[in-house]
């Protein structure tokens, strides 16, 4: 999930009786699976929660370009270089598309980006891990885009219509990224030398747990989930999404001929699911707090891009203003 800890500002759900007539009307629409459009009335908490979630999601797409950029200039051949560049471009497009969905809620893109840069708003913890070998370009596509899809397929049914529409469009491209990433790994495992195969296993060892953390804390530790579920912004719990991801990923892992760094991972015929070990939550919270291996780098890069580009943006507006004046005079 690209939005891991979204605060709804609500500690306890209101019952229908406690709601104002407007709120009750809204909740009944949600319950009837009627999508909310920008022009419809909505509770302030719903609007703020969505802005937080969509902005986190958009920031994640943008910051997520950086770990892949790290290998773009070292991609080993034409095919891989062009694929990787096209994927990074897609992620930028997702970011832009999500920022527009967010703006339909009255939020301002620049203000929200400023919140990202000040550390007030987060992006997915996964992008604070470094990409250390070429196989990471496969693993990121396979596991990171793969985990994102599991979450986003469900978000296609989210209650806010512009967000839902964004998810439908984005999911198609994310599935493509996931397959492309998997192909990179499969190729290395099937046609690579020993060093290349070792890269793949090393990469999976490093990304496995962080990918599982993308779904956020256990349901029991997600104080905001109940309200988000009631508003149908969220449609499935963190733990259920994580289980679904593991169940569909393990067979792909086996097909690669690789292993996960989790001795507890095994099929449970009784549950009809894979059992897996406990996530190191202290690592998760450390990374969320800013202590991941790349938190500082990622934010510094984004901040610098915007700061160093300010003279360019000023020039563009000054020029546009002059043109407008000239046109008016003509």
């Amino acid at each position: 999930m690209y939005a891991q800890l979204v605060d709804t500002g609500v500690k306890r759900l209101k019952t229908l009786e406690e709601m104002s007539p407007q709120e009750r009307d809204f909740q009944q629409k949600i319950d009837a699976e009627i999508k909310i459009e920008p022009k419809n009335w909505m509770p302030e908490g719903y609007r703020r929660t969505l802005i937080r979630q969509i902005s986190q999601h958009a920031h994640s797409e943008i910051v997520g370009m950086l770990p892949e950029k790290n290998w773009l200039t070292r991609a080993p051949n034409f095919k891989r270089k062009l694929q990787l560049l096209a994927k990074i471009q897609d992620e930028g497009g997702h970011g832009l598309y999500l920022y527009s969905a967010m703006e339909t809620l009255g939020a301002d893109r620049e203000e929200e980006i400023a919140k990202l840069h000040s550390g007030e708003v987060k992006y997915s913890s996964i992008f604070n891990y470094p990409t250390l070998n070429w196989a990471d370009m496969g693993t990121v596509g396979w596991l990171v885009d793969g985990a994102a899809i599991v979450n986003q397929v469900v978000l296609q049914r989210t209650s806010y219509a512009p967000y839902s529409r964004a998810m439908i469009r984005i999911c198609k491209e994310e599935s493509f990224h996931q397959r492309q990433g998997y192909q990179i790994l499969l190729h290395l495992m099937q046609h690579g030398n020993e060093a290349q195969k070792a890269m793949v296993q090393d990469s999976i060892n490093r990304f496995w747990w962080p990918a599982l953390m993308m779904f956020g804390p256990h349901d029991s530790d997600s104080p905001n989930s109940a309200q988000s579920m009631a508003w149908k912004i969220k449609r499935m719990s963190n733990d259920d999404l994580r289980q679904r991801f593991i169940d569909q990923t393990v067979p792909q892992l086996e097909l690669l001929g690789c292993t996960a760094p989790d001795p507890a991972l095994k099929w449970n015929a009784e549950r009809g699911h894979y059992d897996f070990g406990e996530i190191d939550w202290s690592e998760f919270y450390d990374v969320v707090k800013g202590n991941g291996p790349c938190n500082r780098d990622r934010l510094r890069t984004r901040r610098r891009a915007i700061e160093e580009g300010s003279w360019v943006r000023e020039a563009a507006s000054a020029y546009a203003a002059k043109q407008q004046q000239n046109n008016a005079a003509a």
């Binding site: 051949n77 891989r80 560049l85 990074i88 030398n193 580009g309 020029y319």
Partner: protein, 253 residues
């Protein structure tokens, strides 16, 4: 010089300039002044690297020595690279990048225009396809030269400085050697003299419109890339771009 040998050299020049400029533009990802600009630079890189691939695939066929386009791009050393000195220059600030881009686009546009009617059907086809993309590249970079030149005092100063700094690398493409002469005579390659006149007129007009001063056309122009003599910039770029194929010789990716 045999025509095939000349054609191979010529195709390397075309492919390498696109490849190296595409690689430079990739370096911008994550650092552009605005998201929309970053996407535009990325699309530009996609086009250029795609064109490089077409030229080098053809070069590999003409060479007929069992090399693939990948091997030509990702294992050839600096002295065998034939890209223009202009495109290997570092990104610098946004104005530096746009100065480099515009001066190249303006040349690339006329070059592909000429090559679209090459007597070599393959050259003509690749050029015609590329021309559509480059027409757009030129429109975009021209617009930015005007915006920055005629934007704020700061952007004007930066744009002027960028043009002045890179200018010495802008004339090499018009200095013909035997390869150019052999292929121009056969109607395969472009005649560089008319190209230069078109380029000079366009550049002077655009810089004037952008309220910028065009440096003297007769200024000394750096040269050497047609013989594989580059600036110190290229070695580092190749070290990065070719790292994997060089570290794992013969590996498949």
């Amino acid at each position: 010089m045999k025509q095939n040998q000349a054609l191979f050299e010529y195709l390397l020049r075309l492919g390498d300039s696109n490849m190296i400029l595409g690689q430079r533009l990739c370096e911008w990802i994550g650092q552009a002044p605005a998201l929309e600009e970053e996407m535009a630079l990325g699309n530009l890189a996609l086009d250029l690297i795609g064109q490089a691939r077409s030229w080098l695939e053809y070069a590999a066929r003409v060479e007929d020595a069992g090399h693939s386009a990948d091997e030509l791009a990702f294992t050839r050393d600096e002295r065998a690279y034939r890209n223009l000195l202009l495109v290997e220059q570092a990104n610098g600030n946004f104005a530096d990048t746009l100065a480099r881009q515009y001066l190249f686009d303006q040349y690339h546009y006329h070059l592909l225009g000429a090559l679209s009617s090459s007597t070599d059907a393959q050259v003509a086809a690749i050029a015609a396809k590329g021309l559509k993309e480059v027409t757009y590249h030129l429109r975009r970079s021209s617009a930015w030269i005007k915006r920055l030149g005629d934007g704020t005092a700061e952007s004007h100063a930066k744009m002027q400085q960028a043009i002045d700094e890179i200018w010495t690398y802008s004339g090499e493409m018009f200095i013909a050697d035997e390869v150019d002469r052999v292929l121009a005579a056969a109607g395969i390659g472009a005649d560089l003299d008319p190209l230069q006149r078109l380029w000079e007129a366009d550049v002077q007009a655009l810089l004037a419109e952008a309220t910028l001063t065009c440096p003297p056309l007769e200024q000394y122009m750096q040269r050497g890339s047609k013989q594989g003599l580059h600036t110190e910039q290229l070695g580092f770029l190749l070290a990065e771009m070719q790292f994997l194929p060089r570290a794992y010789p013969g590996a498949s990716w």
